[in-house]
């Protein structure tokens, strides 16, 4: 097997990772017991917790050593020895920016879309969700991953059920059950894998590194792969397991939608890379065409359906389906460019979707509606808000110079190397995303505003612009100068791709004139 | 013809079956209780028969426990029946179906 998971990466003197996971959770619990009638206290305490987490995340980003593929800042303590479960965390190029994303989006989501009622508990839930997401991204023990993965459901459930729109009950229930059903298969797969490992080695463990060494027959590997993937496919969501998302995004409060689409969707794609590719490289490789196809269908279908949405939040849901299709494509391309693009695109999608939802929230707060049809001409009344929305839309449709392009381009480049026709089909999504985004923009922002809009719609205020500023800055910065991120992602990607390739006895696709002359098939099959 | 132990066991089985069938076909709660008694006593007979076979006094002692339990069950059962059917005309089990599903 490959060199993907060195059993112990660089351990760190300070338990950064434990702290960054527990910090928001503890703050969340503290906020949860604060007096309910004083929202301001909760806001301040929650704000401190989130700020500290964000600072720590940034610190981790800087401490993170560029050019290394293994896990860094590893923490490993026995937790439940009887079950072979350990408090094992580490960060690598795959998880680094996702952690930063969570730490960044949580405060932005919360303070960008404040809830008027029961603020205290809402803040508490957001903090717990933040901790759970960070925990999921950093866990190197499958069990620990799973429980954090599941823990994310609870805050989300309550955020949707407690602060959502009129169909919030149904939405929360559907979201919860659908995801839980997927997780059920994950848990089953995990238990069976651990059981097989135990029968081979005699030790019960859920450690990712150890489990990756389990010998599996091909058919077992495929079954387990499908079990794991079921959970991730629902969470992402990958077509056709997405039907919970439009409802959940629509009914959820804005902050919840930001977290759902911006952060939690990444749990699915992250899981695909971290677990499916690591544990089941052969099955992943052989079943890649299936996932590539689903990814492409998602790209096209999501875009087509998004075009017909009359509701801004549903539109974002389907656009997410489309964008995450690209991520899936990149993951299962098994090229360095594709996977790097996929990982970068996870981050990008988080930023762009968050900004999109926040803007929708701002519009909704003013006009009381997120129906596209009831808007129109906003650009005349609120040009700055419209301008920011335009930047976000352009990032969404992959304009070069903005972040969305970098991810999509790398994904398509990487996919094209091995799976040419999937890339060609996926490129259709580039067209369609322009269609639905610009059409929606035209309907809501162009045209002459009616009296209702003129009287209700106000320009973005200072606080709102400050909340959006970091997102817009990142959209541009990543678009222009993505190298710092790519330098941190690529080494990990190299080792993952090498792991998959070596498990399948294939060599990476070659590029360049020389190889084209020497061998006709440019790598892979 | 010697009457071996198995005859008693078979008799016990017959009694038990009668009890079961009675429980299933009769509507009157009192009679249902009696059927349960019959089943318990069939067990007792079986116990005694096997005790005899094993030459073991333990089995016979067990019968006493069962008898006591049976008595207690009947006492409680009758008390409940009285309390619930005080307001009704007959002690018919089929009337007891306000809860279902």
């Amino acid at each position: 097997m490959g060199n993907i998971v060195p059993s112990h990466g660089a351990a760190s003197a300070l338990p950064y990772l434990t702290v960054i996971i527990l910090l928001p959770i503890i703050f969340g619990l503290v906020v949860g017991v604060l007096p309910r009638d004083k929202a301001i206290v909760a806001k301040v305490v929650g704000g401190i917790g989130m700020l500290a987490t964000a600072v720590l995340a940034v610190a981790i980003m800087f401490i993170f050593a560029t050019g290394k593929s293994g896990y860094q800042m590893v923490t490993d303590h026995t937790w439940i020895s009887q079950l072979g479960i350990s408090w094992h965390f580490g960060v690598d190029g795959l998880s680094l920016f996702l952690v930063v994303l969570v730490a960044l989006l949580a405060p932005i989501a919360l303070y960008g879309a404040e809830e008027k009622y029961r603020t205290t508990s809402f803040i508490s839930w957001v903090l717990i969700l933040e901790g759970a997401c960070i925990g999921s991204f950093l866990a190197l023990d499958v069990f620990v991953f799973f429980i954090f993965f599941e823990l994310t459901l609870i805050p989300t459930y309550f955020m949707v059920a407690g602060w959502g729109g009129k169909e919030r009950g149904k939405a929360a229930l559907k979201f919860f059950l659908y995801t839980l059903l997927g997780s059920a298969f994950l848990l089953a797969g995990m238990l069976i894998l651990a059981g097989l490992h135990q029968s081979q080695t005699g030790t019960l463990t859920f450690d990712l590194t150890a489990l990756a060494k389990t010998h599996l027959t091909y058919s077992t590997e495929v079954l387990l792969f499908l079990c794991f993937s079921a959970a991730f496919a629902v969470k992402t969501p990958i077509f056709p397991f997405h039907t919970w998302s439009p409802l959940a995004y629509k009914e959820s409060p804005i902050a919840g939608a930001v977290m759902l689409a911006g952060v939690m969707a990444k749990l699915g794609t992250y899981g695909l890379v971290r677990f499916d590719l690591t544990l089941f490289p052969r099955a992943s490789y052989r079943l890649a065409p299936l996932f590539l196809t689903l990814g492409v269908i998602g790209i096209i279908y999501g875009a087509v359906v998004a075009a017909w949405q009359k509701d801004f939040k549903r539109l974002v849901a389907f656009s997410s389906l489309s964008h995450l299709g690209f991520v899936v494509l990149g993951i299962f391309a098994f090229t360095v460019q594709g996977l790097t693009g996929g990982i970068l695109q996870m981050f990008n999608h988080g930023i762009v979707t968050a900004a999109m939802f926040l803007l929708i929230g701002m519009i909704t707060k003013r006009t009381g509606s997120w129906q596209i049809s009831s808007l129109g001409g906003i650009q005349r009344v609120a040009p700055v808000l419209a301008g920011i929305m335009m930047v976000v839309v352009l990032a969404g449709l992959g304009l070069p110079g903005l972040n969305g392009f970098i991810g999509e381009f790398l994904i398509l480049t990487g996919t094209f190397l091995i799976h040419r026709w999937w890339a060609v089909a996926a490129a259709g999504g580039v067209i369609l995303s322009a269609v639905y985004l610009l059409w929606a923009y035209q309907r809501a922002f162009h045209g002459t505003p009616d009296e209702g809009i003129v009287s209700k719609m106000k320009e973005i205020n200072f606080k709102e612009s400050m909340i959006l500023a970091p997102l817009i800055a990142l959209i541009v910065l990543i678009g222009v100068f993505p190298a710092p991120m790519l330098d941190r992602i690529t080494p990990t990607v190299n080792s993952i791709v090498a792991h998959v390739d070596s498990a399948n006895h294939v060599s990476p696709p070659s590029t360049g004139a020389k190889s084209t002359l020497s061998s006709s098939n440019g790598g892979g099959k | 013809m010697t009457v071996s132990v198995s005859w008693y066991v078979i008799l016990g089985a017959i009694l038990f079956t009668i009890g079961v069938v009675g429980l299933l076909v009769r509507r009157n709660v009192l009679i249902m209780l009696m059927c349960i008694e019959l089943m318990l006593n069939a067990s007792n007979l079986t116990f005694v028969s096997f005790a005899r076979q094993h030459q073991d006094v333990g089995g016979q002692a067990d019968v006493f426990f069962v008898l006591v339990v049976a008595a207690a069950e009947v006492v409680v059962g009758l008390a409940i029946i009285v309390s619930i059917f005080r307001k009704r005309l007959g002690a018919t089990a089929d009337d007891l179906s306000s809860m279902k599903g």
């Binding site: 079950l83 059950l177 | 429980l23 209780l33 076979q53 059962g77 599903g101």
Partner: protein, 549 residues
């Protein structure tokens, strides 16, 4: 004639039955008090006595446990009782259940105006039976303990004289319980007939040295015993009584059935099948597999269409029974340990949930329709929060002890290997997702707008299925039940609701939550979370929960 045999009286070890003796003592004390003291006694006093008694019983259990840890397990009463980690831990769990029951009942008793100590005294007695079952090492002993447990429960079920359903529940439980007891005893008779003993250790010893030429009778006996246990733990298809009885019985009694009765029955079931009948594992394992399979699925699907919360939890407990039986399917000691964890976990979750339900039940113990939970979160955030916690724990959400329990059982099952086990793992997990639907349905309702908001009455979630309704309405109920099946609350905008409620607050049918209930709920909630986060405690505890063979 039988040869004269001298009956040697067994040596009586009072320490071994100290936990049970304390419970009985407490019950007698209360009965004596109510018989002698003329003036009305505050239910709180009985409640405190029960609580203290159960704590004392737990304390005795702890001493026993430490003793066992030091000196090893031993048999008492001529082998009728086995004093070992397994029995003591389950016994302590029973003690915990009684303690929470005592706290939860206090509010109930004073609310309903029940003066006497009967509810609590019967609880203690029934608990005695459960603790004995956990330790019993002789089939007849188990039978006796089972009956002690059950007869008290029959009465508990029928205690609410004002509700017809209560009496009905009692009669149903009595007849069906008696029926299953008879089957159980008949099974014991056959086992006795083929092995010559009712003592588990002796039966095990018998099979260790003998091989039955014709094991037909034994197998019949074994199967009948399994039926008896399956009835008590409400496993499919012997569960038929449980929804009705759960619904009809007074809520504290229901909580008792769901927890204590199951604890005792499962403990005995495991002990019998894993010690005495272990040689016939090939024969009983498929049966248990089938029963577990059916229980998991029926428990999940059956709860979907229920609108009465107590009925819903009855189906939930059927599903849990399925899970616990998975531990038995595993067969080995590992399975037993995981079952003990499950039982302990389950005690907290189910007692907590029923404590909340008792409170919400309101005066008359009638408000158990799901519509009664509308808007609970607004008036009683902590109450609904705890309910959500307990329900999520039942669904097996991580960081609750419910997850630990399910995970433990399933990981044992998965490590036992084989396609059958893997299938069962997946079925179990899927069924827990299905049952999550009805748990969450309750949670969703607590977060929906309270009834009577604004000018328009919200569409009723269901036609209420009050137990006291007349027989003729049953057809109507059936229709409405189908109509409303799986429906979730239709709601209003949050801001509208908040505004409407600020203007005209609704009358709260629950009122102030009694302190005792708050304590009960808090204990359960803390345990649910704490053991969920630090499951190591549980695992360490049960590592000594082995049998004495």
């Amino acid at each position: 004639m039988l040869a004269t045999q001298t009956l040697t009286l067994p040596k009586i070890s009072y320490w071994a039955i100290a936990p049970e003796a304390i419970l009985v003592g407490g019950a007698l004390l209360m009965l004596a008090m109510s018989a002698t003291i003329r003036s009305k006694i505050d239910p709180a006093i009985f409640s405190i006595i029960t609580f203290v008694t159960s704590l004392a019983s737990i304390g005795a259990g702890v001493i026993l446990y430490i003793n066992v840890l030091k000196h090893g397990k031993y048999l008492a009463f001529d082998g009728a009782l086995s004093v070992d980690g397994f029995g003591i831990i389950v016994g302590m769990a029973v003690g915990v259940a009684i303690a929470i029951f005592a706290l939860g009942s206090e509010g109930f008793l004073s609310r309903e105006g029940w003066d006497g100590p009967e509810l609590l005294a019967l609880g203690l007695l029934s608990g005695t039976g459960a603790e004995l079952m956990a330790m019993a090492n002789d089939l007849i002993m188990i039978f006796l303990a089972l009956e002690i447990l059950s007869i008290a429960l029959y009465v508990l079920a029928g205690m609410d004289g004002r509700r017809t359903a209560s009496g009905e529940a009692a009669i149903k439980y009595l007849i069906l319980g008696g029926f299953s007891s008879a089957i159980f005893v008949y099974g014991i008779a056959f086992v006795y007939g083929t092995t010559g003993s009712t003592n588990l250790a002796q039966i095990a010893a018998f099979f260790a040295t003998n091989l039955l030429a014709h094991d037909g009778l034994f197998l019949v006996g074994m199967t009948l015993i399994l039926v008896g246990f399956a009835f008590k733990v409400a496993a499919v298809p012997f569960h038929v009584w449980s929804p009705d009885v759960y619904q009809g019985a007074p809520t504290p009694a229901t909580s008792f059935m769901a927890s204590v009765a199951k604890l005792g029955a499962f403990a005995a079931l495991l002990r019998v099948f894993l010690s005495a009948f272990i040689s016939y594992k090939q024969d009983w394992q498929p049966l248990v597999y089938g029963i577990a399979f059916a229980s998991l699925l029926l428990g999940a699907f059956g709860g979907l269409v229920q609108n009465n919360v107590k009925r819903m939890l009855a189906y939930s407990s059927i599903s849990h029974a399925g899970f616990i039986l998975l531990g038995l399917v595993v067969g080995a000691e590992l399975g037993a340990q995981r079952v003990v964890i499950y039982l302990v976990a389950y005690t907290f979750i189910v007692m907590g949930a029923f404590s909340v339900i008792t409170v919400v039940g309101g005066k008359g113990d009638n408000n158990h329709d799901i519509s009664n939970y509308r808007g609970l979160a607004r008036e009683h955030p902590w109450l609904s929060g705890s309910l959500a916690l307990f329900l999520m724990a039942q669904a097996g959400v991580p960081f609750t002890v419910g997850f630990v329990a399910k995970f433990g059982v399933l990981s044992a099952l998965a490590s036992s290997g084989g396609v059958g086990s893997y299938t069962l793992v997946i079925v179990a997990l899927v069924s827990s997702v299905i049952s999550a639907f009805y748990y969450l349905r309750i949670v969703v309702v607590t977060y929906s707008s309270p009834v009577g908001i604004g000018a328009i009455e919200p569409e009723p979630l269901v036609e209420s299925t009050h137990v006291a309704s007349e027989l003729e309405s049953s057809k109507m109920e059936e229709l409405s039940m189908e109509y409303s099946a799986l429906k979730v609350a239709i709601d209003y905008d949050i801001e509208e609701i908040e505004r409407a409620l600020d203007e005209s607050p609704l009358e709260d049918p629950i009122g102030k939550v009694p302190l005792s209930s708050t304590i009960a709920i808090s204990i359960s909630a803390v345990a649910t979370v704490a053991l969920g986060v630090f499951p190591g405690i549980l695992f360490a505890l049960v590592s000594h929960a082995t049998f004495l063979f």
